[in-house]
């Protein structure tokens, strides 16, 4: 892998930028790998990267049924934060934020991580009580967290209308929160993992598993059988489908969640603003587009579309809060399939099949955790035991009752 730098740009300018090496190879699958990762999104690629880098396991394949980062990695609203209520979540999501902080350097790939601040609005007494409890809890976990008065909110976001149908009574600010470039995260991890020998195999859909005596031995795919010592499934919205192939069911339901971007415009919002009560979060990309997300559809679906009435539920409150956007035109709208657990916390777990691990259930907010999730999941696969940070997120919690209830901090009211 040739290092990206200002000198590389100068060198390649001499040849009219025609000789840049490909960011990663497109190899044919080998007959056997020590670890096969199913799912070439951010979490899967990060898992492969940390397996190679920190666990010394380089005989790894990432298999992806479509193209890299074409699922939820390319469909989210790119928000990064760690303002969660419970200790388990704080440990996991802040681990991710700390990795985000050094990620561009580490990968030699600009993931455009921008800690522009993440502001969570409160519109009523219940919201104020919720941010009061959560804000203090976050602070106690050593994560930055500040309460803002409506005046301070106005100072930070001058375009906001404080006295609208959704009056702003206060806000919870995490200054270390922000956004990152979602595609770059997938591409950066893919390039760095590939350089250490990880095979990234696209257009390769899993059709079944080879399981002998309760131990996974390999994966059947549309590009033939691939032997595997261990299998890590990071299939997001399709986790239940993959689990069914392996013969068990998951405590998951898949819902479409949509997002949209506006036409590009001059800088006007320099932080991320979100709100539980009114299902709308908004930020502005470096390209100038407003990136807007809202709530999921209320029924399970794999349609990757999302319904029109949900758009209205999001756009209405956005215009109440920011009337200045009333004539902004929307450019694109899309949907992703989010695998949601009942406690809105992810599942990182061993499964009834020996040597098969699942990392799923990130629901509506997996992007922010990409580096942390990949890091602890890689260590869990390598060791065969869940990493201490990942252990509380095991599937066992759905029958022991030790749920990690983050429905409020999910920032999309469920």
């Amino acid at each position: 892998m040739k290092k990206y730098s200002i000198f590389a740009i100068a060198r390649n300018a001499r040849t009219h930028h025609e000789n840049w090496e490909r960011a990663w190879r497109s190899p044919d699958p080998k007959p056997h790998y020590d670890v096969v990762i199913i799912g070439g999104g951010g979490h899967g690629l990060a898992t492969a990267y940390y397996l190679a880098k920190e666990c010394g396991i380089t005989n790894v394949a990432v298999i992806e049924k479509g193209w890299l980062g074409g699922g939820n990695t390319g469909r989210n609203t790119t928000i990064v934060r760690s303002n969660y209520l419970w200790d388990e979540s704080a440990a996991l999501y802040d681990h991710a934020v700390r990795l985000w902080e050094g990620l561009s350097d580490e990968l030699n790939y600009n993931v455009m991580f921008s800690q522009r601040g993440l502001l969570h609005l409160a519109h009523n007494v219940h919201d104020m009580q919720e941010i009061g409890r959560r804000g203090n809890s976050i602070y106690m976990n050593g994560i930055d967290s500040e309460f803002l008065s409506p005046e301070q909110v106005k100072e930070m976001v001058p375009i906001i209308n404080l006295n609208c149908r959704y009056p702003v009574m206060g806000g919870l600010l995490q200054r270390r929160g922000g956004t990152a470039r979602h595609d770059a995260v997938a591409w950066g991890y893919a390039r760095a993992a590939d350089a250490m020998g990880v095979d990234i195999i696209q257009n390769c859909e899993v059709t079944g598993f080879k399981i002998e005596g309760g131990v996974v031995k390999g994966v059947e795919t549309t590009r033939g059988s691939i032997g595997a010592g261990k299998v890590g499934v990071v299939a997001a919205g399709h986790s239940s489908v993959v689990a069914e192939m392996a013969g068990f069911r998951m405590p998951l339901e898949s819902f479409p969640l949509q997002a949209f971007v506006s036409e590009p415009m001059k800088p006007i919002v320099d932080c991320v603003i979100m709100s539980n009560a009114i299902h709308a979060y908004i930020s502005q990309s470096d390209k100038g587009e407003l990136v807007i997300g809202g709530s999921g559809d209320p029924y399970i679906s794999y349609s990757q579309r999302g319904s029109f009435d949900q758009i209205e539920h999001v756009v209405g409150p956005v215009l109440e809060l920011y009337p200045i956007f009333s004539r902004v035109r929307m450019l694109r709208q899309w949907g992703g399939i989010t695998d949601v657990t009942v406690d809105r916390s992810p599942i990182m777990t061993k499964t009834p099949v020996e040597n098969m691990f699942f990392n799923c259930g990130w629901g509506t907010g997996g992007f922010k955790a990409t580096p942390g999730s990949g890091h602890v999941f890689a260590h869990s696969i390598a060791k065969g035991e869940m990493h201490p940070v990942a252990a509380p997120f095991s599937m066992d919690r759905f029958h022991t009752g030790a749920l990690i209830d983050e429905a409020a901090a999910a920032a999309v009211a469920h």
Partner: protein, 113 residues
């Protein structure tokens, strides 16, 4: 963004309805006799089908009655609904998930003519 067939009111827009999750999940008859694993499965584990899904709906904005329905979760087209307590209808094996039962019948009749 699709139509739901209420057994009493007919085809209406989905926004008139509320979704009630997977259908036909029976509460264990003797909760005290089963393991934590089985109880957890009953409460939390779902089939989450990609394909034909049996699910509950309630016509919140109109008659207020609950019913079951079969819907294709890739195309979001509902095949048919049926009353609580009735057996689920069986869509044809070659159903592509693109037409509802009524349209399917009309198309079949048209083909005969």
């Amino acid at each position: 963004m699709f139509l739901v067939k209420c057994p009493w009111c007919g085809w209406r827009d989905q926004t008139e309805f509320s979704y009630g999750g997977e259908a036909h999940i029976a509460r264990p008859l003797e909760p005290g006799q089963i393991s934590d694993q089985e109880w957890g499965d009953y409460i939390y584990t779902r089939t989450n089908t990609k394909g034909i899904h049996a699910e509950r709906w309630v016509h919140t904005q109109a008659c207020g009655r609950w019913f079951n329905a079969l819907r294709h979760t890739v195309t979001d087209v509902m095949w048919d609904s049926y009353k609580m307590g009735e057996d689920a209808p069986t869509p044809p094996k070659d159903w592509d998930g693109l037409t509802c039962c009524d349209d399917h019948k009309k198309l079949a009749e048209g083909a005969k003519k």
